[in-house]
Symmetry: C2
Subunit: 468 residues, 2 copies
């Protein structure tokens, strides 16, 4: 048996749900279905109830505890009806332990016999093109996969999903910007096996030029590439106007490409089940920062209240906005990142070449032969603004050396942070208060928040786990 | 009387040689001429002796102590004859105090009655085009000016020269790269007065597009501009293939333009006679460096032996070479300069944003989808070179964070200085030894060398003196 087969067999043993597990899932599913039907008929509504997601498609991985149940209501009841009737049914069927959530649609997340069951009201539409949201489209995806994906290929999907989880590219949520479950299923459908998906990614995929069009909706790849402008284009078999890989970032696509190459070269279980990250102790962290000779600036604030997708959209936008602020004032940002527990803490992190710039900065003026400008320039810097040195002539231009307004990154952030391009909710929190921490000042936070410690340790290693 | 006239009249009083002074000069000149003739006839050679330069053209400034006397020999005696016979005559006519010098030609510099008299052997040629060196061409310049420049205009030349001295743009030597005396005379000839030269410079001159062609050798300015490719083109009236302003740098041309504008706007004696620079004391210097927040690196070595033009050519080339070395290794050079007393000391000076870089540097690798390269890259940075962080993926590329080889500018210079692009003589001296000084380490040198202290004080002010 080859090393690949060996690894794959070992993974298959882990990802295939056992008979006992299937039974447990089925029990929860039928319980939920009957609860919903009872509630609906008691309330006098006729609804269609369907299990969706990986359970419905039999592509779930052993140990998954998520079940999606869709409550399909006639379109005529409208958005309001959906929210009042649909949610009422969901709530009453949910049992004791549930919360109401809101993504594109409102839904109920219940805990039933140790499973997380999403009870999702949606409209009954006759085709995916009619769908007004991802939720309405889901049943068509389920149907498509169930009618096209053969039994043998379901294990291949499980392998691919577990591989993607192991290398941290699984999940289409904003935080991850990776591969959705449906995208994994389509990749298997197209390439016919886990290993062939990896081979294609390793050898053929190239960002912004790869198109997968299972139903051959488009004659060649030019049209979908122009239409979708995404790193990877996978035309939705149930709706040709949709790119199933729309949420996939260049970063995650490339991480998948690189990991695929690496796996093919030396197959290993660690791609599927990477070793856990043990956070460094704080002394090691401080030594590491010292060794790099760079400066770490942390901005710590409270996490706003919103759904994870909304939060992470704002976090990513804000971290780029703050990076831009630093760069506009000449600080060299080596890298930046954002961490949040999605409830209490939000921490922006910037690694700078240096948090201190020289006090002096060179400011180029007009060419000396430009009559009006050079006169104004000299007047300004002789009479209005007192430069550190100059005005002087360098080559054919006037220059002055000015005192930099912000030569300390922490001062800049302290005064200008709210002028950065920030997400609205992040702006609100920051305007209520934040703390700036430089290098070792992060020690207390690092000691208190283990998840943050793991995050920062990973950043310091800076390696994908499959390379560790 | 307008302010301009007032200033000009005051300057004229100072720059016009007095009757007493003229008499003294004439006495020296006739003494030297008769000495040369006696020596030549004693040796059995017939030579033509001519006074050249500003004395011959009556454009010298009161107080000038330089007299040029040319000993013209028949072309037939050749280079060797020129050096044996010509120099012998010069030496024997020089009196007690003289040194032999060598620029393009060998000549003798004598001190006679307090004047510096250059005794210059040269060939008798019948036209400037025949000249094999600047020295052979000089008599034609003298003749041209004497036959074209009227008596009234000679004072205008004196004003222009003194103005250029005052603003530090006078002199065509390599160190200055400014305006020669002959160039001043031609500018007056062309524009007819001191003030009109300044107006032209202030309002009309533009680097690389201004041509002055007194004899109208060229139909338009395109041909000479293409031919000479210099900031300013002044076609030599005695040789159309020569640009009299060839030695003028963009920097000095622009300083003249800027000073001309400033003088026209507010005429002042200080343009002609700027206040002397009083060097700061060393504590003030150190406070100033502190205030700027930058780092000053000085490289101190012995000055090579050569003529000033050779030296400064090599100094400027070397300072640029060292700047390049620093920049290649990521140091940000704000400005650099070189100082030398042309005999003992040579000091290169670099003002850096910081003499210390972070230990860590980001190194971009290949795109992850580039098959061969990315494999080699990962192998290299996993197995051969141990990076501080990575390899990791950023966007579609591999990156690693490496330990910088040189994060201290002084270390870099200490190890790599001789690999910079240096002048040959400078290389020789540096290979025999140099000292690197950072910031306050320059104190002793600063205290000991007053000229260097003046130079560095001027650098720190960074203003032309007419703006002080």
């Amino acid at each position: 048996m080859s090393k690949v087969e060996e690894v794959i067999n070992a993974v298959l043993k882990k990802v295939r749900p056992s008979a006992v597990e299937r039974k447990a899932v089925n029990r929860v599913v039928s319980e939920v279905l009957s609860r919903i039907k009872n509630v609906a008929s008691r309330l006098g509504f006729e609804v269609e109830v369907r299990v969706e997601g990986s359970i419905a498609k039999d592509t779930w991985i052993s140990g998954d505890r998520d079940i999606d149940v869709f409550i399909r209501l006639p379109k005529e009841i409208g958005r309001e009806g959906l929210e009042s009737i649909g949610l009422r049914i969901a709530r009453e069927a949910a049992g004791d332990k549930w919360i109401e959530c809101y993504a594109e649609h409102p839904y109920v997340e219940a805990e039933i016999y140790g499973f997380t069951v999403d009870l999702v009201p949606c409209f009954m539409v006759s085709s995916a093109e009619e769908a007004t949201s991802a939720v309405d489209r889901t049943p068509f995806h389920t149907d498509y996969i169930n009618s096209h994906l053969s039994g043998e290929l379901k294990d291949e999907v499980r392998l691919l999903k577990q591989f993607m989880k192991g290398i941290d590219v699984y999940g289409a949520e904003v935080k991850v910007q990776g591969f959705s479950g449906y995208l994994c299923e389509l990749l298997i459908l197209h390439y016919k096996s886990f290993i062939r998906v990896l081979e294609a990614a390793a050898y053929d995929w190239k960002p912004y030029s790869t198109v997968i069009d299972i139903e051959n909706y488009y004659a060649d790849s030019d049209e979908p590439l122009a239409l979708f402008k995404a790193p990877l284009v996978v035309v939705d078999p149930v709706d040709k106007r949709r790119n199933v890989a729309a949420a996939l970032s260049l970063q995650k696509m490339c991480e998948f490409i690189a990991a695929s190459k690496a796996f093919i070269k030396s197959p290993d279980l660690k791609f599927f089940y990477p070793p856990p990250i043990m956070p460094l102790n704080i002394d090691e962290v401080l030594r590491e920062i010292e060794k790099r000779g760079t400066d770490f600036v942390f901005i710590v604030t409270r996490c706003p209240k919103a759904s994870p997708d909304v939060l992470w959209g704002q976090f990513y936008k804000s971290v780029e906005g703050i990076r831009r602020l630093l760069e506009v004032y000449d600080f060299k940002v080596i890298d930046c990142a954002v961490w949040s527990d999605e409830s209490k803490y939000l921490i922006f992190m910037f690694e700078l070449e240096s948090a201190c710039l020289p006090a002096l900065e060179k400011h180029l003026g007009p060419p000396v032969y430009s009559r009006e400008h050079s006169e104004r320039f000299i007047e300004k810097y002789l009479e209005v603004v007192a430069p550190i040195a100059g005005p002087k002539i360098e080559g054919d231009r006037w220059v002055v050396y000015l005192k930099r307004k912000y030569f300390n990154a922490c001062d800049l952030i302290g005064e200008k942070l709210l002028e950065a391009r920030l997400g609205k909710l992040v702006y609100s929190e920051l305007s209520r208060g934040f703390q700036i921490m430089l290098n070792e000042e992060v020690s207390e936070i690092y000691r208190d928040l283990r998840d943050f410690a793991v995050f920062f340790t990973r950043y310091l290693f800076g390696k994908p786990r499959w390379l560790l």
